[in-house]
Symmetry: C2
Subunit: 111 residues, 2 copies
DNA sequence: CGAATACTGTGCCATATGGCTAAGTATGAC
DNA sequence: GTCATACTTAGCCATATGGCACAGTATTCG
């Protein structure tokens, strides 16, 4: 239940860059071409393409080429993995809180 | 509603390393000393301390020193920021889905 | 006090990351 | 066919990252 490490690694790394996070945000509104996406950022196309490749390599987006245009689309189910990890942390924390509350409720168990 | 970039940056960067993610997991069960935490990882203490500092610098943990022992504790509310970002993405995506569904429901609006 | 413990500080290293320019390829428009 | 468009490839560069060894410092234990 925690051996997703490699996948999560890639996902978090991909999301750790503000450019890539913004791309994800924009793709949330629907697929877009590399050129259209890139025009929103102050970096050169080759640099931008690296981000696109990183996002694709880590599964956050899917891209397809039609003619000379490459279109990017968000893979929403992959964001769910990140969500899942956070949910796990919450669960762990809540289990602990429950135990602490039990201690308070039954002080005879204490120490 | 998306200008958290700097904070999110740090949070995602902090979570992008498997060692640090595991530290967060362990601290979810309760505070622990640097030494105890470090003993679970195959790296040297100085290397491990870097991770601790990164986690603290990005606000994911709080540490206090008592005598020669430094104790680390999770700052759960900061994980909530990551959660918030994911929730925003979901909202954006759902808005879009709603619009698409409206198109299907009222085809006279199409194209 | 002297030794063991628990970090902490320094400095070095290899690799990864994110950016750039310059040049190339493939497709669509005229 | 020629030209503009939309990437794509290649190579370079500075900085960041994650790891190490080794040498401190500060507490606690006997």
């Amino acid at each position: 239940m925690a051996q997703y490490s490699e996948e999560l690694d890639g996902l978090f790394v991909a999301l750790a860059d503000p450019t890539r996070r913004e791309v994800v945000r924009r793709l949330g509104r629907g697929p877009q071409s590399v050129g259209d996406l890139a025009s929103a950022f102050p970096i050169t196309l080759p640099s931008f393409m690296k981000h696109v490749r990183t996002l694709e390599a880590n599964g956050l987006i899917r891209t397809t080429k039609s003619g000379r245009v490459r279109t990017c689309a968000l893979r929403r189910e992959r964001l769910a993995l990140v969500d899942g990890w956070l949910a796990e942390q919450r669960r762990i924390w809540e289990d602990r809180t429950d135990r602490l509350e039990r201690l308070v409720a039954e002080p005879e168990e204490q120490q």
